[in-house]
């Protein structure tokens, strides 16, 4: 019964519409890695034509492995895949793609200098005389697909100049051009703005209605509930449940994901702010290209207050936070910490004065991935007693120091000597959060604290941020997730084009208002200064 699929290529089958309505069955899929890790343990997954199927689970639950197997990147140790009842085996993504299974990876694999049509057609090019590329045909094919599924992509646009949302559509087009009946999207919303997320799901519904099968790998419950037809939950490599979305609720899904009851997003509780801890006045920041990335930022943050900064990616939030931390480009203006100007100080001096910083890029900036967890936890403490003993480090003190933080922040490691890079995103984030909070600095800057972190860890980190605030610290927080800002922030600033364009106390903030301000549309003039001082 095995239908062998070779790794060869049939260039772009323009097999017209009438979708083959493929049913995918994955039965008893297991995957052991040579290091003994069992990523999938007899997983069952059934995908029906014409559905949006959400595959959910925490990091390490085996979602990615399962999808890698389905799209031909990895071979299962055990179990079988059936397409319309026929057993198949894929030797490569190309053979899976020939069988009608396409995958949109989290990291886009595109050629920036080529056009949309060229990207879509690559390796499945329409040709003339067998060797000459027909760009016109490629363009028409892309235009036709884009029109049919309302993708709104210009085939002639250079990919390097498109927004992230558009790049994702180019990836979808690539799969459609290869006639994918089953489209797998890995964490598709991680990089999108709320508006782009809605647009994406509109496109996916269109594809579903045309009879194709959509699999969305995600851990965002809100989206799962809003857009999927059915949900399969994985936990610890096993398939725990398959649910019909209309008959379940977020709490049940979260329970299946974590195996316990979860306080979703946490409930916001108001802080009790005291005097001003951090004041930013007329801050301008230029990046290394000389472009003004933050213009005239004015705001203050009080002790015992969390100020959230909303904005679409690239609106200057990260640069603002970096600048306060003493990093990043050239800046001018006033940055005051408890009344003293620290604008001239270096990052190290600012830290000493009382600024802690949790950067967005936890592997590149927040930690040294090749160093041990213990060393990572010692960073920033190593110049002072008790870790420093004269001219050398006190290893025993370092051990105690790391053991304390690991214990207090519930970091799951077998040993403090483990390389930090081997930790999962959530666990590594706990290492960084633990280290920065242990500084007990007056001000904590947090850039995207829970990006790519699973539900359990989000709950943990949110709880700690609230507790830290309640101990009288000031927190500046940015997040791509509005729900996160609503769960934590006592006040929300919105940045657009490098400016703080709006400010709302938690009580006045609504998703609609903030969403508009994120697009640069606001009636509210900056009332921030009267409000906070």
């Amino acid at each position: 019964m095995t239908r062998p699929l070779n790794g060869g290529v049939t260039a772009g089958r323009p097999q017209s519409a009438a979708p083959g309505a493929t049913t995918v069955e994955m039965r008893g899929i297991s995957k052991w890695y040579s290091n003994g890790v069992m990523a999938n343990d007899h997983v069952d997954l059934v995908l029906n034509p014409g559905e949006i199927h959400a595959l959910v689970g925490e990091n390490g639950a085996g979602k990615s492995t399962l999808m890698s197997i389905l799209c031909g990147l990895e071979e299962p140790t055990d179990g079988e895949i059936r397409l319309d009842g026929q057993t198949v085996s894929f030797s490569s993504p190309v053979s899976a793609s020939e069988a009608g299974i396409g995958m949109v990876h989290q990291e886009f694999k595109l050629f920036p200098s080529l056009t949309v049509a060229e990207n879509v057609a690559f390796r499945a090019e329409p040709t003339r005389l067998g060797m000459f590329l027909s760009r016109r045909e490629a363009r028409e094919r892309v235009r036709e697909l884009a029109d049919r599924y309302r993708l709104g992509v210009d085939p002639n646009a250079k990919v390097g100049q498109l927004s992230v949302g558009m790049l994702q559509r180019v990836e979808i087009l690539k799969a459609l051009h290869r006639d994918a009946q089953v489209l797998i999207l890995d964490e598709p919303t991680a990089v999108l703005t709320p508006q782009e997320v809605d647009d994406l799901f509109a496109v996916l519904r269109e594809l579903r209605d045309a009879g194709r099968t959509i699999v969305v790998v995600t851990h965002k419950l809100r989206e799962v509930m809003a857009f999927s037809d059915r949900i399969t939950v994985l936990r610890d490599g096993r398939s725990i449940a398959t649910l019909t979305t209309s008959e379940t609720n977020p709490a049940e899904v979260a329970h299946h994901m974590t195996g316990r009851d979860v306080d979703l997003d946490g409930r916001y509780n108001a802080g009790s702010p005291a005097g001003v801890a951090l004041r930013v006045d007329g801050l301008f920041v230029q990046n290394e290209l000389g472009v003004m990335v933050v213009s005239d930022a004015n705001f203050s943050v009080r002790h015992g207050e969390i100020v959230g900064i909303a904005g679409v990616a690239g609106s200057g939030q990260t640069e603002l936070i970096e600048s306060i931390a003493g990093l990043g480009g050239h800046s001018s203006g006033v940055v005051e910490l408890d009344g003293t100007d620290i604008h001239q100080l270096s990052a190290a001096e600012r830290r000493r004065k009382g600024i802690a910083y949790i950067p967005e890029d936890r592997r590149g900036v927040g930690s040294a991935v090749t160093a041990s967890v213990s060393d990572n936890l010692a960073m920033g403490f190593h110049r002072r007693a008790p870790l420093r003993k004269g001219w050398r480090l006190d290893r025993a003190a370092m051990k105690r120091h790391s053991a304390d933080i690991i214990e207090a922040f519930g970091i799951r490691v077998s040993h403090a000597k483990v390389e930090a890079g081997t930790l999962s995103g959530g666990n590594l984030q706990k290492v960084i959060v633990g280290r920065e909070m242990s500084h007990d600095s007056a001000v904590l800057l947090v850039d995207q604290p829970t990006r790519g972190v699973d539900i359990g860890a989000i709950e943990n980190i949110h709880g700690r941020l609230r507790a830290y605030r309640d101990r009288g610290h000031a927190i500046v927080l940015t997040s791509a997730e509005l729900s996160e800002l609503f769960a934590l922030a006592d006040r929300i600033l919105v940045m657009y084009g490098g400016r703080v364009v709006a400010e709302y106390p938690r009580a006045d903030a609504t998703e609609a208002k903030i969403g508009l301000a994120m697009a640069g549309i606001t009636q509210q003039t900056l009332t921030g200064s009267e409000e906070t001082t």
């Binding site: 190309v94 080529l114 690559f122 390796r123 499945a124 390097g160 927004s163 679409v312 690239g314 640069g520």
Partner: protein, 322 residues
Amino acid sequence: MTEIFDLALLESVMRALTPVLLAALGGLLCEKAGVFNIGLEGFMLVGCFAAVAGSWFGGDAWIGVITAVIAGMLMAAILSFASVTLGADAIIVGIALNLLAVGLTSFLVRTVLGAQGTFQDPALDGLPIFLSQSPLTYLSWALVPIFVVFLRRTVWGFRLQGVGESPSAARSLGVNTKRYQHAAVLASGALCGLAGAQLALGNVVLFSENMTAGRGWVAVVVVMLGQAAPIGTLVAALLFAVTEAVGFRLQGLGLPSQFTTAAPYVITLAALVLVSVRRRTLTVRRARGTNSPAPSGGGATPPVPTDPATRATVSQGENHVS
């Protein structure tokens, strides 16, 4: 001025152009495939020797040309095996090959041809000359439009560029990126072999130690200057050739030879600086044009955005094989 510019000058420009252009076209292919090939100098020098040896022992200049092509490809095979198959740093391997070429050819000219430093013999067959140019010169001209069509119109050329721009993207679509890179490096070896044959059997009929004298390095720069486009590469190579030819002429008019010999390199350097400065200003201007905060009236109500907020940063993958 008439003493400087005449038909003879044009001919010497062409002679200076051919080896550099051939080698640069090879470098261009590697650049497109994402292999930074700085071994052109060494490939060319080995080509020079092989051309002379082939012509000497085979008794025919064309046997020399074929030997040169094979020798260039053998050198290239070392680079492509080390950098593409084994994943070594192409720059380091390239430097090693350049050093190897100097030593190897000096050694072989002594042992195989029995000459000290320079081998020259009236019986050594040089390339035939049509209208004062060797056939390889005409071939190099013909290659430019062929390259344009190859890169712009054919499926292979299209995929080759994709392989160079983002190997991971090409791989994900099932393209055997290594095969393209091997092919590009080997082709550059063949082209450098032709360049060497032109130098040793066309421009002059002799072999002398290190006779390429940096032309391979100039070719590397020419590829950058021409932004790895065939026409751009031709123009950049021409700039170098004109400087070299005029330099020789000025030397005849009494200018110090050190000055004129240095001229092509100085010009190349100056052109490189100018191009990179220009490119940088363009990048900055583009960044300013799209990303700078809109100058809003009083900072109160910024205008509705005209372009979607986030600019793409597509992962470029590994740009060069390393």
